[in-house]
Amino acid sequence: MLTPIVIDGLSDAALLFLVAVGLTMVFGVLRVVNIAHGSFFALGAYAAITLGLWAGALGLSQALSYGALVLSALLVAALFGPLTERLCLRATYGRGEIAQMLVTFGIFLILDDVQKLVFGVQERQNDAPLSLLGVCNLGGIVYPVYQIALVGLAVVVAFSLRWFLRGTRAGKLVLSVVHDAEMARFSGIDTAKVSVAAFTFGVFLAALGGSLASPITGAAPGMSAEATILAFAVAAIGGLGRVEGAGLAALIVGLGRAFAVYYAPAFDRATPYLVMFAVLLFRPQGLLGVVETRRL
């Protein structure tokens, strides 16, 4: 029984990580509590499904639906990232978290209605990426290969992000802005450009999470709110702004949920919040979060 629990836990963790990583990165870089994060996740899902179905309707190869998953995330990021940062978020910098939360909540509400307007109120789905890869048998249980591949993909995203932030010049510029925006500005770094690029990248990660999850979950009204809540829970457990923390938190919650479904199904829904409660009780900054001194 342990093998399927671990596999199910890992695959759930992969989805949770993809939901949360964009949120935690945007907070880490911009110190923005982005309530609209789930909206970008949902837009990524809708865009991937729409593009995949178009490709299918045009008689193009179904393998193109994998390209559609990434392309849709890029499109959502290019369209909404700079626009949101320049028009809405920039005015809130330095005005406290309340202003940011109100603005991003407003964006969340607007985008929720935009989704209904553009994509309708019915559930949408395109499972071509799921069915194309077929199934495999692990521990006597049949799994879609796509679901297993998603675990690998989440690991790739985690390490790529770490490499980008720590190993590239662009990443180091971002980290210098995170560490001390004022000092970075004095050192000649265009912090405004870094902010828009970092936010757009955060939107890309959110949309990528939605698009990669869409072959399994489909897309329906209401998914934005669910993604936002789960992303906050995972990010808070790991420590807001800590990418590795989001990975660790996703792993704990994913495995916890799998154990709950097998041994105590009644606790399945409560697992992320029970874990959050237990962690924040002893480490209010999250598992890998650091206590920051406030500058006056």
Binding site: Q125, I216, M223
Partner: protein, 440 residues
């Protein structure tokens, strides 16, 4: 400036409350024929439940149009006022109140969700507004409760899920190991108890090996599907519906869940068109009543045939059973008004007379006979069958059908349903019609 004492202000408040509290009854209580009859119609038109609720909205549109084309009700045009149940129970209750008090809607077809029906019933009583439940099927609605203004135009969870268990038992399916995956609210939990108790009544060795209740609207059932696969049940029962059902079947199909176990997909017919011939073959399916568009009763009913034709032409879909439930509820409203007009010598009925006309009403619906019992619950037959692909049809049909007469699968008025199941006579299954006995 004149100052009012607290006492005067309180008196004014009470008077205000009295005047506005009585206004809705006064608005249609005088027996005058209104210029139009507004009918509140509650269903899900957005969110994951819309895939189930929209067919009902479409059916309501067609039925009201058809009634109006035939001259309305004694010359009075009908106007549906739709309320989206996706806004949550609190908002739905507020909408009900607003429709009665501000828009003077005298009769409601409400609701799809059982939670909403349970919340709306006391409000309907308080506002003295007849409410016809059209889809919600929780048996708790009328259990140990007496309502004056609340009626149900369909059946409860008890006959619906006794029927599925009886079908399996009559077919002598292996029910030794049963797995259940239902939505985590009254509909799911009630169905699980009714289904498993019925199996146990006739097969005491039947064992529940896994019982899962994911929350309504879960986007992924991956872990639950693994759990079901790992438990190796002989039968898997689910009463998921709407987007939940679509997601579950879509995610379980490639994982061979339906090849490993015999599936009872209670609301499976609602997604036949969605999945086409990919829908699991041989799964036990039904319509929670008698609303199967291809049943002999429907095929023999010219009004039902017109409805199906108009529905397909307008919406390019087959009307699934929620559409029939809504259409039948509109017919109940029509029949109640016609009866009330007849019994009041053509005087337009107030809410009291309308409620009286609904008592014991018998209606020939699009899908078969419907009786409103003494407890106001509906009594209809139950159709169950198995999914089967046939040549020339892009999606499965129901084969090996049986039509259980409502009175044989429904507990008597005031009976405790679980006790009734536990004391069903030993020859009960032999007294029921056999699978395959209904249909071509």
């Amino acid at each position: 400036m004149q100052h009012y004492s607290r006492k005067t202000a309180s008196l004014a408040g009470v008077l205000f409350g009295l005047v506005f509290g009585l206004l809705p009854q006064a608005a249609w209580g005088a027996g005058e024929r209104p210029a139009q009859l507004k009918v509140g119609v509650f269903t899900f038109v957005s969110g994951p439940a819309a895939s189930y609720g929209m067919p009902a909205k479409n059916a309501a549109d067609l039925m009201f149009e058809s009634l109006n084309a035939g001259g309305g009700l004694a010359g009075v045009r009908l106007e549906p006022v739709f309320v989206d149940e996706a806004q949550g129970t609190d908002a739905v209750v507020s909408e009900f109140r607003r429709l009665v008090t501000s828009r003077h809607v005298p009769v409601m077809i409400a609701a799809l969700s059982s939670a909403n029906c349970l919340a709306l019933a006391p409000v309907a009583e308080q506002l003295k507004t007849p409410m016809i439940a059209w889809n919600c099927d929780t048996h708790h609605l009328f259990l140990k409760k007496k309502y004056r203004y609340v009626f149900r135009a369909n059946t409860s969870t008890v006959p619906e899920f006794v029927a599925y268990a009886a079908y399996l038992l009559q077919k002598k399916a292996d029910v030794s190991r049963v797995g259940i995956i239902d939505p985590d609210y009254a509909f799911g939990h009630d169905a699980a108890v009714i289904f498993s108790e019925t199996l146990r009544r006739f097969r005491p060795d039947s064992k529940l090996v896994v019982e899962l209740y994911p929350r309504l609207g879960s986007p992924s059932y991956s872990t639950e599907i693994s759990r079901l696969l790992a438990a190796h049940p002989a039968v898997i029962f689910t009463n998921f519906w709407g987007a939940d059902l679509e997601n579950f079947v879509r995610q379980a199909l490639p994982r061979k869940l339906f090849s490993q176990s015999l599936a009872v997909i209670a609301l499976g017919t609602t997604v036949f068109e969605e999945f086409g011939q990919r829908f699991p073959q041989g799964a036990v399916v039904g319509v929670l009543g008698d609303g199967w568009y291809h049943s002999p009763a429907v095929r023999a009913n010219p009004q039902a045939q017109r409805f199906i034709k108009n529905y397909q032409e307008r919406f390019h879909q087959v009307p699934v059973f929620p559409a029939f439930k809504m259409a039948n509820a509109v017919l109940v409203v029509e029949a109640a008004y016609r009866r009330a007009l007849r019994e009041n010598k053509g005087q337009w009925p107030d809410s009291e007379r309308l409620a009286r006309a609904l008592e014991g009403l018998r209606v020939k619906t699009l899908t078969g006979p419907l009786t409103l019992r003494a407890d106001h619950d509906g009594l209809t037959d139950q159709i169950v069958g198995v999914s089967r692909n046939v040549a020339g049809s892009p999606y499965p049909v129901m084969a090996d059908m049986v039509r259980y007469p409502g009175e044989l699968v429904t507990p008597p008025v005031d009976a405790d349903p679980i006790q009734w199941i536990k004391t069903l006579p030993a020859d009960y299954l032999e007294r029921l019609p056999k699978p395959g006995s209904y249909g071509p």
